[in-house]
């Protein structure tokens, strides 16, 4: 820290050439251990790949290298607040926060006070920037964005009636409520909705209710994931319901592709699809090059996206001033990341990103499309 202070001091005195003087200090307070490490660790791998790539080329704009100051917050909210305070004290220009709302929000008091932009690695709740305030940004397709994409797709496919299954247990599993809102706005008719508890597994009552509907709904949407989703889908198909089922990124796992006949034709939304020649495929190749192993999760690429966003914002701001970077970040448009083109302009901190729609076909992954949602249709985040 002393060395850094000295560097800064020398730089301000003009003893180092100004072109090389400026370094963008990025404070990374993420969960490298504990429950959240499953998400944060792969994101930070992607962050390192992107930072090395940029620094090898001389830095942002060719002359502003990125320096990462990393701290492990051990998946704990209090530790996040402490680590963020330390990073703020070290004079970082941008902060990277964990994938979960708890620690991110616990740190936001400090972040807002210091007026430094902070980006959560992969939290998808659209309320996060709302609650976190103007310095809080997300880096993952919001639940409401995913829901808009699937509702628009269903409507375009000619589906007129829908049914949703959601769980109030977590914010994420209430995603179908956004779907219903968009589907309704498009002119579709919701035939009903059901709730379940996470881990419930027995869906016979709900399935009976759906099977007895006449006419049957054209589309059934849920954000349930393992173990609930496979149980629900099997029960649904066993009861003879043939409606189109749409899921969300929670079921982007090998289990879904091994379900056999019940999963055939299933469609779900997720963060990216590595089509040949796509930026994601390119990133995956680079990842394998650097680490020697193929990328196991799309969260690696999401980390790469994160740095690309910081790079673009800093370039647009033209300085390392946190306030300037925040303002530039909030107005970013069309940043090319690994998984998607990313836009923050016109949102309140939740990025507009392409969402990939995947269909399960004979146990394989088939790309349905990567539509960008119509901005006016995206529902406002729900606090409840």
């Amino acid at each position: 820290m002393k060395r850094l202070a000295l560097t800064t001091a020398l730089a301000t005195l003009g003893m180092i050439s100004p072109a090389l003087a400026e370094t963008l200090k990025v404070g990374v307070a993420t969960a490298q251990t504990g429950g959240l490490a499953t998400y944060d660790a792969p994101v930070i791998e992607g962050v390192h790949i992107a930072v090395d790539e940029i620094n090898e080329a001389g830095g942002i704009g060719g002359n502003m290298p990125i320096e990462l100051l990393e701290k492990d917050v051990r998946s704990d909210a209090a530790q996040t607040a402490i680590a963020v305070q330390e990073l703020v004290d070290e004079g970082v220009s941008v902060l990277v926060l964990p994938c979960d709302a708890d620690p991110s929000l616990a740190a936001m008091g400090i972040v807002s006070g210091a007026m430094i932009p902070a980006i959560s690695t992969c939290a998808s709740s659209p309320t996060l920037p709302m609650v976190g305030g103007e310095y809080m940004f997300a880096n993952f397709p919001g639940d409401n964005v995913q829901a808009t994409v699937s509702a628009e797709w269903a409507w375009e496919q000619g589906m007129k009636t829908g049914y949703i299954l959601y769980s109030p247990d977590t914010q994420y599993t209430t995603l179908p409520l956004y779907f219903a809102e968009v589907f309704d706005a498009l002119g579709g008719e919701m035939l009903g909705q059901d709730t379940y508890s996470i881990g419930q597994q027995d869906f016979s009552a709900i399935v009976t209710r759906i099977a007895s509907l006449d006419p049957q709904p054209d589309v059934i949407m849920t954000a349930a994931y393992e173990p609930d989703f496979p149980s629900f889908l099997n029960a649904l198909r066993a009861a003879g319901v043939t409606s189109q089922v749409i899921g969300s990124d929670g079921i982007d796992s090998p289990t879904t592709f091994s379900l056999g006949a019940p999963a055939e034709g299933l469609v779900f939304t997720t963060a990216g699809y590595a089509a040949e020649g796509s930026p994601l495929a390119e990133f995956n190749a680079k990842y394998e090059d650097v680490t020697g192993a193929p990328s196991q999760t799309v969260f690696n690429a999401v980390g790469y996206d994160l740095v690309k966003v910081i790079e673009a914002a800093t370039e647009a701001a033209g300085s390392t001033d946190p306030q300037a970077i925040r303002d530039a970040l909030a107005n970013l448009e069309g940043v090319q990341g690994a998984t998607s083109v990313i836009t923050y302009k016109g949102t309140d901190g939740m990025p507009v990103r392409e969402v990939s729609m995947i269909r399960v076909k004979e146990g394989e992954r088939e790309l349905v499309g990567q539509p960008s949602p119509t901005a006016e249709l995206i529902p406002a985040p729900r606090m409840q």
Binding site: Q32, R74, A81, V131
Partner: protein, 609 residues
């Protein structure tokens, strides 16, 4: 009322406050990040001390205390959350709660009251259990509370983040409450209730026998510790400003328990030591884990170093310091040894109530075995009655029934007109029956003085407890040992201390189970004199079990002989010596004056009821 010396207590409390204040001053000089580290440390320390109030003093490890922290956090946060925020995020709150907007201090007070009420209800249930069953019940409490908070969405936002809580826990707020928690914990430990609870931790049966109502003391400490946990929960809620139920679950439970166990569960010194050790190690290691340079070497970034370091400390503590780094004593108990033995003028009052113990048809069956079969006895104040019989004849079982340790299968007993049937041991002690145990049951890590004092405090409404304790120690000639731990003495001394402890209960009747075992002839003779004095001078009645027939014959007014659970003879020593049934059953065929059982012989089959 305090059981420790006021001077020591004043030193301990002042030192605790000074420690907190100095730490806070240093941290506030070092900057915002240090202030936050120390605030979290203070909040954790409050929780560690809170768990210690219950687990340390009762010896029952609790996994459930973070539920009280959660209740404190949610209750206080619901009260301080701005009304506009409540309207936006919790629209289904009842109107009176939605409109309430309190400051942090009154919110903490309300949180304490609500948490204590919750703890009372839970404590009545958990308090019925013992040992590992109680520990598992606390684990259940943690899981149930967690589930209820997640399920009660209209009030708690379910598993989602409860945000918007004003961040009002500054370093000095945390420091102030931390001092309060340390003072409460320290005062409780040396309060009458705390001493009784620690006695029951050391030996539950003996504590009951000297009048300690263990369930009541456990409930008191459970509620007090819940109050302290509520403070910790409220403070962390207002430190973070955003939290969810998982903040009060397994991960944090184990982190706080690790601090308590590493430091030493039984003392406040231990709680502080553990919290300081783990915090310091964490803070040091976490600065290294981001990678650093030593000369030409670059040590790479290795996250997880902190957890490995803490795990190693716990292992070290378990192997080398199983009782924790601070051991079993508060620091000032080691540094400032108390006054030596004093000549005491206090004497024990003579027994005024002459009512006798009458037991009829006492029978005890363990499964198919009848240990005691239809035995009737009476014991009057002022007489010494010997109870003899071969090993396994039911002597200890009979004593256990008469003192309430065992509930007889059949039979009834009363003291004067008061029925003793079904009364717990501490009530029987209160009525004036005190006892010692065949396998000595002292409170080994309490001092001799505390051993005896707890008996005085738990009987006769605690009146003149200290005088009674001093007189009892003096009478048994162990007053010089007062300041040392009871567990450190020789067998004979321990027996005398145990008798002194029974005597401090100011009993009408005293049951002594092999009091002379382990004593040499001179010690036994001295003990005989002491016992005679108790009956002649104080009018206490003694029921004496021993294998030393010389002792029995020369001391007892009457002798009862048990064989295979039956009373086969009773009468004056001379009659018993001539009784053919006794000779056949107990003494064998050759009649001798000598003891057929070896002196100091320890019958194993009677060790436990």
């Amino acid at each position: 009322m305090l059981t420790a010396s006021p001077r020591n207590m004043a030193i301990a409390l002042a030192a605790a406050a000074a420690f907190v204040i100095v730490a806070a001053l240093v941290a506030s000089g070092l900057g915002a990040a240090s202030e936050r580290v120390l605030s979290v440390f203070f909040i954790s320390l409050i929780a560690v001390v809170g768990i210690g109030i219950y687990s340390g003093n009762s010896g029952v490890l609790s996994f459930g205390h973070l539920s009280f922290m959660a209740v404190g956090a949610y209750v206080s946060a619901l009260l301080t959350l701005p009304a506009a925020m409540k309207a936006a995020t919790l629209p289904k709150l009842p109107a009176w709660l939605a409109a309430t907007e309190l400051g942090l201090f009154p919110a903490i007070l309300v949180a304490i009251v609500v948490t204590c009420a919750f703890a009372l209800v839970v404590g009545l249930a958990v308090g019925r259990l013992d040992g590992s069953a109680a520990t598992i019940a606390t684990l259940g409490l943690l899981i149930i509370t967690h589930g209820v908070i997640i399920g009660w969405r209209d009030v708690t936002r379910g598993s989602g983040t409860f945000f918007g809580v004003p961040r009002e826990t500054s370093l000095w707020v945390a420091a102030g409450w931390c001092i309060a928690a340390l003072v409460v914990a320290r005062l409780y430990r040396d309060s009458v209730s705390g001493l009784r609870l620690r006695a029951s931790r050391e030996n539950a049966i003996a504590a009951g026998a000297v009048g300690v109502d263990m369930k009541r003391e456990r409930l008191i400490s459970w509620i007090l510790s819940a109050a302290v946990m509520a403070v910790s929960g409220a403070l962390i809620a207002h430190f973070l400003g955003a939290f969810s139920p998982k903040k009060f679950y397994f991960v944090d439970t184990f982190q706080l328990l690790a601090m308590l166990i590493v430091g030493g569960m039984t003392t406040v010194t231990g709680a502080v030591t553990g919290a300081v050790t783990i915090t310091v190690v964490t803070e040091v290691l976490r600065r290294f884990e981001s990678g650093f340079d030593i000369g030409a070497f670059t040590v790479p970034q290795v996250f997880g170093t902190t957890q490995i370091g803490i795990a190693l400390i716990i292992l070290f503590a378990m192997f080398r310091k199983a009782e924790g780094l601070a051991g079993l004593k508060e620091w000032e108990e080691r540094v400032f040894t108390r006054r030596g033995a004093e000549k005491t003028a206090a004497t024990l009052p003579a027994v005024s109530d002459r009512s006798a113990l009458t037991a009829e048809h006492m029978t005890m069956r363990f499964g198919g075995l009848t240990a005691v079969n239809d035995v009737s006895v009476t014991l009057r104040p002022g007489e010494i009655v010997g109870l003899i019989g071969p090993n396994g004849s039911g002597k200890t079982t009979l004593l256990n029934m008469l003192s309430g340790v065992l509930e007889p299968t059949e039979g009834t007993s009363r003291l004067g007109e008061t029925k003793l049937d079904g009364l717990p041991t501490h009530r029987i002690a209160e009525l004036g029956i005190a006892r010692t145990f065949q396998n000595i049951r002292l409170f080994p890590s309490l001092t001799v003085e505390q051993n005896v004092l707890v008996a005085g405090l738990s009987t006769g409404s605690g009146e003149d407890a200290r005088a009674r304790a001093e007189a009892a120690l003096a009478r048994l000639g162990v007053a010089g040992h007062a300041d040392k731990d009871a567990g450190t003495f020789s067998y004979g001394d321990q027996r005398r201390i145990e008798i002194a402890r029974a005597l401090a209960c100011q009993p009408k009747l005293l049951f002594l189970d092999e009091p002379a075992a382990g004593m040499n002839r001179e010690e036994t003779d001295a003990l005989m004199e002491t016992l005679r004095g108790l009956t002649r001078e104080l009018g206490i009645g003694i029921l004496l079990v021993d294998h030393d027939l010389k002792l029995i014959n020369s001391l007892c007014d009457r002798i009862l002989v048990l064989n295979e659970g039956r009373l086969i003879a009773s009468g004056a020593p001379a009659e018993i010596r001539r009784d053919p049934a006794v000779i056949e059953a107990y003494l064998g065929t050759s009649q001798t004056q000598d003891d057929p059982a070896e002196p100091g012989h320890q019958p194993t089959e009677e060790n436990d009821p």
